[in-house]
Symmetry: C2
Subunit: 433 residues, 2 copies
């Protein structure tokens, strides 16, 4: 607990304490117990399991005296009684669904952080500088249907008809059918009508576990996010060469897709190193790679190599530059090696800018919460990116987590969650922030 | 048909003609008809199917007046009646087995070329400069049990106990059991006792389809082989990194096995280019490559990449140099990237030297057969390598073939086979050669 007699105490934000930690622990444990998988948890997007979790949160929040409403997607929206119906409002949100065999913190941490802020103030008999709502959203994870950020896209009117009809990877039924089974009217979604009046939202704020190792490496519990990386994804690049006996085809007669692809990635890795050394923001990943298991052999020059290719950056111009370099290197390698490359239609997600003023305000809030201001980029996309790209001033807070994300080894300490929540609380309780 | 009034006719070798072509066509067609697969042919090593093929060849050769004997492996040995039992003898050989869904020419071409030489001379009432035998061997292909050159290894006493107990990839029964089922006494093989008195063999000669594109590219029907490339094989190299979210892990925190392996192969490809530009003999192949299909994803830095790695050269010192370079680059990349590489125990096959005098004699025979002398390396290993490494003076002839080898698209023209056979015939009919 911080020393409230400290000279700076007047500008200090409300400190979260053992009762808030106990509340967060309780919510994480109760929800994990309701959603076990063979390992970790599973909370399918647009499922009755989500509803069960949302019902539990609703009851728990109502027991604390909060007002809870269901929106058109049966997301749940929580607020203090005095803030009910007041606009414009600040919105803190994240999602409750998880990937299969997932971790308990991706998404849920942001919802619980928001609820901890509400309940802490409710218990203390205090309110917020401006009306505040917390939203617990459904379906964000792409693991179930392919599309991601489905709730925030539907709320902002940006879920495409194609996404709405994406088949569930288990039962093959479209997303629209799964939504309808939950009582959602899909007609306005199909028409691209946003379900939420965005002009009533003053700010969208999201806390999320960092999905990388930076805060662990930097020994910091939390950070303010500078921007959300956009990406360019090529799911299956196919390098096509000519098969042959590995001993009998001389170098000058070869068209070897593995060697050509190795050179392609090595050259792009060099470019990546240059970009980073010049201060650029870029990551490049080829996460899936395979020769054809039906035909490959140790003593056979492979006929093809298939690999995924993904680049991410906060800067659209960096994405464009690396995409152009990819095309250039492919053309050069085809000339040099005779190997051709078939590229799928790229999937593009634009970088999302956090609101500059809000970013500064969150850094100031971080300082008021007694933490050294620290900012970093978000590598993963989040519902926040959808709100930001829909024009809502948006900010994000990251919380240190070990074990990555989307797996049972996700490991966040509640003390770190509270550090992140204190940044949000410092912001939403400060007049003029 | 060549002009026999040509001044050089006296030194010309016997020319093969339409009757020989018809014989070869007949043998290829009859054997293909006896060994169909879903596509191409299948003649399993150490099988009753092999016996059926060998029985067919035996009957066909006996019908031409040749003497046929079965050796301790139930390989078949063919000769003119007057050469039966005479030593030392020249031996022309190859194998009758094929890979599954294989082509009709790999192995069989060499057997048929030898038989064409025997039958051509028998029909003409002529003999050979020195006693000649043709051997049709079993089990050469590694596709069935893993080990290759099984017959020639057993004949020369170099089949290892491990190879003798290698399980069949279909029924799991060891090679020894499959041999025993054919009536072969495996005891002397297990004891490493050679089944053939090698000191009785003056020369071992093998004709084989080229398994690469060089003769097609050079527009030549046949070539004399300069040497058989040895190889170093690493069946499964495992590059081990650290998994992570593809967007959330900055470059400096990554240990990406795909990127590190791409650099490794790209650097070895550069070394390869230098070796070749300096006149070296080298090929490098990574024929099988895969991230872990259980865990890989487009948005995940992969935890591992598995790939095969093979180098081949006629020169032991080149193999040693590239192996050392591989180790050096791995050490460097582990330092640079944090990715470690697990290497399996290497499989080594020493390069096989053709006999220098025999090589010259075959080039001279090629000239006497009316062909411009042309020599090239053998990329694949062959039974010839086993005889050569066992100390038998060995020579090889390659015949142009399209479509590579070990697949139904193998495509050799009988005219080219006869060109190769004429080189052999010119050699074995010349006194003092």
């Amino acid at each position: 607990m911080r020393d409230v007699t400290h000279p700076a105490a007047a500008t200090r934000a409300p400190a979260l304490g053992p009762e808030d930690a106990a509340l967060a622990e309780e919510l994480f444990a109760e929800i994990a117990a309701r959603s076990p998988d063979t390992r970790g948890v599973s909370r399918p997007a647009w499922s009755a399991k989500e509803t069960e979790i949302l019902d539990y949160l609703t009851a728990r929040a109502e027991a604390e005296g909060l007002v809870v409403t269901a929106d058109a997607l049966d997301n749940r929206v929580f607020c203090l009684p005095e803030d009910a119906g007041r606009t414009p409002y600040r919105l803190i949100g994240s999602h409750v669904d998880s990937v299969p065999v997932g971790g308990n913190y991706d998404g849920l941490a942001g919802v619980i952080a928001g609820l901890v802020c509400l309940i802490h103030q409710k218990r203390a008999g205090r309110g917020f500088a401006r009306p505040l709502r917390v939203i617990a959203m459904r379906g964000e994870e792409s693991a179930w249907f392919g599309p991601c950020y489905m709730a925030s896209k539907a709320l902002t009117g940006t879920l495409t008809p194609e996404e709405l009809e994406a088949p569930h990877k288990g039962d093959g039924q479209p997303l629209s059918a799964h939504m309808a089974a939950l009582g959602v009217d899909v007609a306005p979604i199909a028409e691209g009508r946003g379900l939420l009046p965005l002009d009533e939202i003053a700010e969208y704020l999201e806390l999320h576990i960092e999905q990388g190792p930076l805060l662990v490496g930097e020994d910091r519990p939390a950070a303010v996010v500078t921007g959300i990386r956009g990406n360019l994804r090529l799911k299956e690049v196919r390098a096509l060469g000519e098969p042959g006996h590995s001993g009998a085809v001389p170098r000058s007669y070869r068209r070897d897709p593995v060697m050509a692809s190795a050179k392609l990635l090595a050259r792009l890795d060099d470019l990546w190193a240059r970009e980073v050394s010049e201060g650029g923001d870029l990551v490049i990943t080829s996460g899936m790679m395979s020769t054809d298991p039906q035909h490959h052999a140790m003593a056979r020059i492979p006929d093809s190599l298939t690999f995924s290719f993904e680049i991410r950056s906060q800067h659209p111009e960096t994405l464009a530059r690396v995409e152009a370099a990819l095309q250039d290197e492919i053309a050069r390698l085809t000339e040099e090696t005779g190997v051709t490359f078939e590229l799928p239609r790229p999937i593009r997600n634009a970088p999302a800018k956090v609101d500059a003023a809000l970013h500064e305000a969150l850094l100031a809030a971080m300082e008021r919460a007694g933490q050294a201001p620290y900012a970093m980029a978000s590598g993963g996309g989040h519902d926040a990116a959808i709100f930001a790209n829909a024009g809502v001033p948006t900010g994000m807070v990251f919380v240190r987590s070990r074990g990555g994300s989307h797996n049972p080894d996700e490991s966040m300490e509640v003390a770190d969650l509270l550090a992140g929540a204190e940044i949000l609380l410092a912001h939403v309780t400060t007049e003029g922030a």
